[in-house]
Symmetry: C2
Subunit: 436 residues, 2 copies
């Protein structure tokens, strides 16, 4: 049995922290640590103190915290042997990645909220943490304040997880909620989200599903014990979803949500982000506004869901500080590094073409005999079974129809789509959305 | 800095387990451990093996597992130095309590699903675990498979938790769901629950709220860092709830749920179990059938909710095995005992009389002038403000009215009730239910 090398004892029963970044999350972390000052000693058996804060602009930061805490020199932090925990909340790939690697190699424990980095290069960081026998925690990188990484890594560890479906982007959930509840179109709802501060000036990463893709990659890696990276995730955003699609979904007893879906199947891992029709009675259906939720199915636990704020200063800080407190306890017991990378398998990620899905499709077709037969024969020739075929309305010489497929192989469905697009009787394929 | 005494090394890189009890949960635990056999070594770095199972009836148990595992002699287990983890799933107070204390004192780690014991005498067990520097985990004691104790103790530790509202009893949630969705009366829904195996032969502990009271006591203790025991919890069951109350609640945009409520206030802890009207848009409102959910509000994280199966063979086993795997990792890193009792405060539990609530009340009164004035003056004289006063229907000489109060001190409300009960113009007080 391997005995772990022990870290040096702490000075004055106090653990010193460095904070990298003092933006929204960094400020939140500082506030939450301040608000827990009285609790730390009885709760953890040790006090935690922010010793240094790395910022780019010293003047600007001095308006928020005591000037003496600030530095713009990373070396001052990484070379400070009194600092045992580094909290990275700068975001972005570099220099965050280099700083964290250097911190781990210098024997410091690291907490980060950096989903971009974990979803693309988490392995490098986790390997460095393992090598250094230090903690490397990133609860805040997925779904903000919602405890999901620790529950997956610990509480649900006795399960074979077969499915994760997450509403993990608050911006798009806010937009879709407004489109649903107030019948807004996408552009109007996005403008409102921007005005209220739910969407960034450049909303691409949110509305195109890239942010959600990073989070579902991280969740899939943990749930299936096999590395899934951002580039493995098929991604479709919500820009093409219309108020009419949402209304039709509602008539069918469904809502439309942007979800990250990860499934473990006999032939590999399926992982994707896209809008999806979800039955209104499903627990995810009532997750509205900017709230997030992660639905998990395990062979023992069955269905379970974790709900809460997926972003914001204090919710994200809540997750960061939970990690920091865990590290403090592990340091006291000399067992940092005992919860680490869980990707001990290498399972292939399936091509989207090989995945099985149900589809909702809305078409504008010529309103004349033979058209429906033409459409259905294309599906039939491509092994796509139709569950429902609904004529919604007529306008001039056009009819709007909605098609719901049974479970079909995506390749077959896409082949049908290609042919349908070439048919003159079909004026427009207005929507193609997957169904849960 | 205190260095912890280390346990002796494990034999053959294997951790041996004893299971106490082979009922529903015990069988589930055995199955889940079997299903994880292949995963243990890569996941934990060590294999786990059930070495002994304590049962009362050897013959009966031999139908389920290999006879050689069975014993009816506790000494055989507690004296076996190779056994490092004891899983108690016998239930009840004794001998479970004695066995767990003896196991901890013998240097074994303990996992239990025993809410009765934790809610009444958890302190004794946690003190023994601390003394022995062993892990004592009980995730399965609240809300079955839903990870809630570890998230509260770890992930949300950076919060001051102000409120927990839990639907933590599947039997009563099933009954109320049937009453809501199928307009059943209580007796009919209970009979159905019994028939389907959701209710026990003697359903008292469930329908009177005692089971929920145990769980909310445990959650309150952890959330507020101050011991709350079963006897501190004011408890009201669902036997008096009628289909008509549920229908009226629905008309007001609410559902009725049996909830455990725990709040941390300036003047102490409020903790109670009772039926409650909850707004249909609240995440708890869509928790139906036998599902459980725990809603938590923290100052940093905001609103968060944990949803899943609150009982059953495999969901409960999921929680037990999560605890067992955690212990295995802690053993490997020689840090058992590093997550322990968090009740470092002593906050008084408030008397129910001093709590502030809103109320829904349904009354049958004489249908004549002056009656409403009579009722309202009683409330007015007792500092009870009325938010709504709705006449629902008339039948013969009687009128049915529904009163919704504003937030009122329970003592004042109860004083009003006492007087109303003596008034001849009031034929019946048909329902008194709190409103969230």
């Amino acid at each position: 049995m391997l005995r772990k090398e022990k870290r040096t004892d702490m000075r004055d029963n106090k653990i010193q922290i460095a904070l990298l970044g003092l933006g929204t999350v960094g400020t939140g972390v500082y506030k939450v640590l301040e608000s827990q000052k009285e609790e730390m000693l009885p709760k953890l058996g040790v006090e935690l103190e922010v010793k240094k804060i790395l910022v780019r602009n010293l003047e600007k930061a001095a308006a928020k915290v005591d000037r003496s805490l600030l530095t713009n020199n990373w070396q001052e932090i990484v070379e400070d042997e009194e600092i045992d925990i580094v909290i990275e909340v700068m975001g972005g790939m570099e220099p965050a990645r280099t700083y964290m690697l250097e911190a781990l190699r210098a024997g410091k424990n690291v907490v980060t909220a950096n989903k971009d980095l974990i979803a693309t290069d988490g392995k490098t960081l986790m390997d460095a943490a393992k090598e250094a026998q230090r903690d490397f925690f990133f609860e805040a990188s997925v779904a903000g304040g919602i405890p999901i990484i620790r529950p997956l890594k610990q509480s649900l560890e006795g399960n074979h997880i077969s499915e994760i479906v997450g509403i993990v982007n608050g911006t798009t959930n806010f937009i879709l909620t407004k489109m649903t509840e107030e019948n807004m179109e996408f552009d109007e709802a996005l403008a409102l989200a921007t005005k209220l501060g739910y969407a960034e000036a450049d909303p691409t990463a949110d509305i195109e599903g890239l942010d959600a893709a990073r989070k579902i990659a991280i969740l899939a890696s943990i749930a299936f014990n096999s590395r899934v990276t951002f580039s493995d995730v098929y991604t479709e955003g919500i820009t093409k979803v219309t108020a009419r699609d949402i209304r039709y979904a509602g008539e069918m007893g469904c809502v439309i949500k942007l979800v990250g879906v990860a499934r473990s199947t006999q032939t590999g891992i399926e992982v994707s982000v896209h809008p999806m029709l979800i039955d209104s009675r499903h627990p995810l259906a009532s997750v509205n506004d900017s709230y997030n939720a992660v639905f998990v199915h395990g062979d023992a636990v069955g269905d379970t869901m974790f709900y809460g704020r997926g972003a914001g200063e204090l919710p994200t800080a809540s997750a960061v500080v939970g990690d920091v407190f865990d590290i403090a306890k592990n340091m006291l017991y000399h067992c940092t590094g005992h919860v680490n990378c869980t990707c001990y398998k290498t399972i292939p990620v399936k091509k989207m073409d090989d995945i099985v899905s149900r589809y909702f499709m809305r078409l504008q077709v010529e309103d004349r005999p033979g058209v429906l037969a033409g459409v259905t024969s294309v599906f039939g020739n491509n092994n796509v079974s139709i569950e429902q075929f609904i004529q919604k309305r007529k306008e001039g010489t056009l009819a709007e129809i909605v098609v719901i497929t049974e479970e079909v192989v995506e390749r077959n469905f896409n082949d049908s789509l290609k042919i349908l697009r070439t048919m003159s009787m079909i004026k427009e394929i207005s929507a193609v959305i997957r169904v849960y």
